[in-house]
Symmetry: D5
Subunit: 95 residues, 10 copies
Amino acid sequence: MLFQVKMTVTIPAHLASGEFDSLKKLEKARAQELQIAGVWRHLWRIVGNYANISVFEVTNGEELHEILSTLPLFPYMNLEVTPLCRHPSSIEARG
Amino acid sequence: MLFQVKMTVTIPAHLASGEFDSLKKLEKARAQELQIAGVWRHLWRIVGNYANISVFEVTNGEELHEILSTLPLFPYMNLEVTPLCRHPSSIEARG
Amino acid sequence: MLFQVKMTVTIPAHLASGEFDSLKKLEKARAQELQIAGVWRHLWRIVGNYANISVFEVTNGEELHEILSTLPLFPYMNLEVTPLCRHPSSIEARG
Amino acid sequence: MLFQVKMTVTIPAHLASGEFDSLKKLEKARAQELQIAGVWRHLWRIVGNYANISVFEVTNGEELHEILSTLPLFPYMNLEVTPLCRHPSSIEARG
Amino acid sequence: MLFQVKMTVTIPAHLASGEFDSLKKLEKARAQELQIAGVWRHLWRIVGNYANISVFEVTNGEELHEILSTLPLFPYMNLEVTPLCRHPSSIEARG
Amino acid sequence: MLFQVKMTVTIPAHLASGEFDSLKKLEKARAQELQIAGVWRHLWRIVGNYANISVFEVTNGEELHEILSTLPLFPYMNLEVTPLCRHPSSIEARG
Amino acid sequence: MLFQVKMTVTIPAHLASGEFDSLKKLEKARAQELQIAGVWRHLWRIVGNYANISVFEVTNGEELHEILSTLPLFPYMNLEVTPLCRHPSSIEARG
Amino acid sequence: MLFQVKMTVTIPAHLASGEFDSLKKLEKARAQELQIAGVWRHLWRIVGNYANISVFEVTNGEELHEILSTLPLFPYMNLEVTPLCRHPSSIEARG
Amino acid sequence: MLFQVKMTVTIPAHLASGEFDSLKKLEKARAQELQIAGVWRHLWRIVGNYANISVFEVTNGEELHEILSTLPLFPYMNLEVTPLCRHPSSIEARG
Amino acid sequence: MLFQVKMTVTIPAHLASGEFDSLKKLEKARAQELQIAGVWRHLWRIVGNYANISVFEVTNGEELHEILSTLPLFPYMNLEVTPLCRHPSSIEARG
């Protein structure tokens, strides 16, 4: 099943920048691992914002929540989750 | 350049349904033509809504506006356009 | 997979009331059919509003969209779809 | 009487994480106690968010407020309370 | 149980004014009947708006929905329902 | 003159809890004093929220502002003030 | 007592323009009558909008509602009423 | 030229109250100086809020920004600026 | 003085398309006349929307309101007016 | 390609003012460098707010994001990015 997820990061004032940088490294590694696995299918930066628009392909909501809630930056992100499905005019095989 | 476009359709009460159906056919044909051309790169239906989330790859804003404003359903759609760019953690070749 | 769907109905001024009443009968029959099938698992009225809060159990977004978009009142409803999953503190077997 | 309650948790920056973890344990125990008592009838996680959608069956507003305002995480939660009632199309015995 | 209900009326353009006036008379009669019965406990006009703030005392949500949804002006009103309960600092006997 | 005031309290993270508790005691005493004086005519708790809905009867805005801005919890409250007046369908003597 | 009232006019599509013009004439006459009486103390146009910001001095909410609800354009206006009072830094005699 | 400015003050938690009080004294002196000069033409308190509605008469935006951005409380205020002009129904000489 | 004006057009369902097209021609002629006069300094289309972002240089609010309120499409536009002034970091001569 | 960017600065409470002043100097130098290069084409202050409206001319979203995300004040700014294109009524050569 497909979900669009808009992730907006708020840099925590109380966290040392070094600590936040290492979280960002972990986040990048995890994101690339999930993209290679075909779960995190698209990841785009929103121009001018510390935010991204992503598309996930997962079996169900459980799996998506498990992935999102264990992302290193999860405590510092606002997430908007929109369930998607195949559009009747789409020519994409996997939709 | 990449843009996400969220399109929400409002069915016009004053239009005969037959007229609206033919507009929808034109819209579908145009959408598939643009997908084949690689311009309309993704088209997903938002579950439960007469709305879609699309991703366009165009040269610039002029080209995107020309495409969107000449869609048959344009007068009956609310469009939210979000400029995207490559995310540093993305592994997609074309981003 | 579980989804909460909030449905708010707007009575169309341009539709004859008889026509709207028959749509409502069709809607009720379809809703009860889906409840019996275990798909539409909960259906509550929001006090004071022509709106309801429902919980659906479906295989994926495709199936939910197919159900919602073919409801007789779909053209006159605003739908907010929220994907749900099992809460770690829930004691419900089926979650 | 039925109420839907949407609970969104904001992790307090000024609280030691150990302190917050113990609050979470108390919250889970209390939630399961109320579910067993049949008061907290449904508890679902909103996918991708530190939030849940719950349904409570109580005698009146007093009882619900007493329950919600004494939840261990109450000071760190934003609560949206929506009164529900039986829908004319519902086939659920207890509604 | 106590509920605050904010009612905002939108005068329907498609309804003949005579028809709307008679609805308003029915609405007034019903409102006074419910006030005499002690159900509609308070009814105030919001200054400058075709809207009111009311407080109802009912057994449960079912009863309130039955009352509100059968008000003559119900199809032309937007209702916001807020459940109330006794405040610990209140000195009112009936709260 | 009648005003509805919705008061939403935000517990300040930087204040010692003991200090906040004593403010709450002062607030309760002041609220009861004003209720006895017939100025603070109604005080209800909004179910599930650290907020209340109150109705004040005062001579004018000056008097109401003096009362509200000198409440012990004023610095930690968000106040929404709505001017009320007698509704033509109200049967309440004092309106 | 002082109130600010923001009035935003929506030109009704179903009304003949001649009919609306005559309502506007009545509105202007009434506005000037109230200004001369010292009740409608200030009336400014919001640049670029069919809207105004006004300040009224009245005895109470009853009087203000009577004035506003009998304005010829009342059915076609959205009104936001804000109660004002004397500011401690104001040097205006009448506040 | 006339501008309405709505100023909402947020008391900074990190500032010592003594420091904030002295800022308030400076603010009051500056406000009265500008009122005497005929620039700050109206200053009203919004009932129940640490906020005011003001009207300024200035030559242009530059002048207004210079005044507002150098107010002692500027860093702790949210300002909404609305350009005004003479209303065709106004009888005020200076508009 | 500089103002940004965001103009969003809503195509009126009740107007014959021919009538609306002639209004658009008048609008274009007027817009170009004002640009040549140096009053309408910038005019950009918002990609994907029947809306524009413009910058006007006028003497005061009166002049801007006169221009905007007499635009042929004024009755079918929602206008957001933002007063601008010279930015301390700007290198533009005319600001 | 043209973009409008609205930048709203929030002064961080946890940053020493000296540190913030030096960031502001760096920001000014960078802004003027980009204006000279013809990339940052317009920069206006929003009257009464610590915010500006700017227009950028860049090749694509990548370039704009690179510029915005490396501005010294980026961590303390909320940015709204609106893609623009040539308006059919514009007489500007470069649009």
